[in-house]
Amino acid sequence: MDLTREEESILNGEKGAGAQKAMELVVALGKVYGAENLVDITSAHLSGASYKTIGDGGLKYLEDMVAGGAKVSVLSTLNPVGMDRDRWKEMHITPEFAEKQLRIIDLYGRMGIKTTCSCTPYTGDNVPKFGNHIAWAESSALSFANSYIGARTNREGGPGALAAAILGKTANYGLHLDENRKPTVVIDAEIDGSLFSHSLLGQAVGMAIGGGVPYYRGIKPTLEDAKTMAGAMAASGSVALFHVEGTTPEASKFDVSGLETIHIGKEEIQAAYDKLNTTDDIQLIALGCPHLTVKEVKDIAAFLKGKKKVNKDVEIWFCTSTSVRDQCPDEVRILEQFGLVLADTCMVVSPIEGTFQRTGTNSAKAGNYLPTLCSQKTMCRDISALMEVVL
């Protein structure tokens, strides 16, 4: 790999052991992907925040990093953690888990990372600009940043993104390069336009193409629609960038004539729905994967206002960030009559399998991960259909 003199000196340990380790990792990952050099980044977003996902190995790794004096050099934010910092008892979290989780958050904070713990940093704490190179590690957030904003990132892993945050650099390959941002397939989409239909569309496309760069026609996604699509495509497939004709900033650059076109309509949406629905009987309704935005909290509050929760056996979690929760106190009060409005966590990274076996969600992303990461059977429907269970 072609390193500058300064990068070479970091790799040789002249800037300390912590920076050397970070450089070793960025260079090793660059080799694996055939990068020729490094590129400066403007921000990082780190995964590997929940004690449930990183375990004792991850915790020790973070302790050693902090002991070695590691500090990030660019704006860095953190993914959701395994519990709400204040309401973990209501989430059935054990004190042992909570203690380790709070230590993990503290360790990230000591490295200079903002510990707001959201999977939608682009709505508040970490908003990249068009063309910025970034190193992001949350699959839905990085796809959103690539696609809806036009920033540039690969699918970074947790330690790789942390190393990039420390150096302010990442390996220059994949989606950092123009040639890899070109559409590879045209998706001719026919959906009803609801938020939930965008989630199923993402699911169907991930199932149909696996990877690649889809170019959508026939939809006009809002931020919320794009958020749920991005999450779904990254979970059912490995899509990290998509374009939408007339909506996303890079779409107009490309000539897509001659590309294969796949039609996604009623039949494909039904197949996606069937795959995500494995039970009719749920114990928990969990919304906010990715985290609810202010608009979603307001929409849900408007839907629930004046209604009554009849079925007390089913718990409801509304997952969002602290900043969103703080921005709409009136709506949060309405939601709290139905369930918990939780900040900085979600149903996927929390150890819900200790309490629940069957969960309902309106997110195709959650519908993919709840069975594998949380051993859940799932019901995947739009919010009003889910709420029918309790109203």
Partner: protein, 258 residues
């Protein structure tokens, strides 16, 4: 002798090989408190862990860190092709790692030195023999020689025109000499030459430098080293059960078939 791979995670270590022949996930694949494998018999603590490539959850990187903390980590990792999870785990855990090594040349119990800094390994318990192997192509067919059943190495096998490199001899000179000795066919410059590859036979590692010679015509006259010859298409050669390991792959690379 040094076998060249690619540096992934720096550092130098030596140990006994434990091999796993499928893609490996550290998450679920190993007990971190003991180093015992859960997917096969064996223990990786303090060993040189050889497997084709990593797979599974990204948490696997932290499992490697956990192994290191417990003192149950391998001393080095050798992969055929590195991917993100094991690469990340090896670097953060300071475990030397080399990839782009044909893991078929390593056996359980081999003592291997791994140099993660320059990206090479050395099998201390094996003998090395440097050889050449030449594909002579005439009109789309390749010359295949039949070794006698009494041959000391690869008895009864079918091979290209092969032999040992003499001390002080270049590989290309050795190739031309072997072709002349074994077939009486004169050759000039090779049309293609590959980076050396390795074939394992018991405690011997054959380093093979493969050459391609494309000729308009050729009339082989055999010496006592072989008992028969035939001209096969590349497909026929690949289907031949007696062909020496490594030859079909080398022929593909010589003919640039990926």
């Amino acid at each position: 002798m040094i076998i060249k791979g690619r540096s992934i995670s720096p550092g130098i270590a030596k140990g006994k090989v434990i091999k796993y022949d499928e893609a490996f996930s550290f998450l679920g694949g190993v007990d971190t408190s003991t180093g015992d494998l859960r997917v096969a018999d064996g223990n990786i603590a303090g060993k040189v862990f050889v497997f084709p490539k990593g797979k599974g959850s990204t948490v696997g990187s932290f499992v490697m860190y956990d192994l290191m903390v417990h003192g149950t980590a391998p001393v080095a990792v050798i992969n055929r092709s590195a991917e993100t999870i094991v690469t990340t785990g090896a670097v953060i855990s300071s475990i030397p790692m080399v990839d782009m090594i044909d893991t078929d040349i390593l056996r359980d119990g081999d003592i291997v030195s791994v140099n993660g800094t320059d990206g090479s390994i050395s099998i201390e318990t094996a003998r090395y023999i440097r050889t050449v192997s030449s594909a002579i192509m005439v009109k789309g067919r390749v010359l295949v020689l039949h070794r006698p059943d009494t041959a000391r190495s690869f008895p009864g096998a079918h091979s290209l025109v092969s032999g040992k490199i003499e001390p002080g001899e270049s590989a290309e000179d050795a190739a031309a000499r072997e072709i002349m000795e074994e077939t009486r066919i004169p050759v000039d410059k090779a049309d293609r030459v590959l980076e050396p590859f390795y074939v394992r036979e018991k405690d011997i590692v054959w380093e093979v430098t493969a050459f391609l010679y494309i000729l308009d015509s050729a009339e082989p006259v055999l010496n006592e080293e072989n008992v028969a010859f035939e001209w096969l298409t590349p497909e026929q050669l690949k289907a031949d059960p007696k062909v020496v390991t490594g030859v079909p792959g080398a022929l593909d690379r010589l003919l640039n078939i990926q």
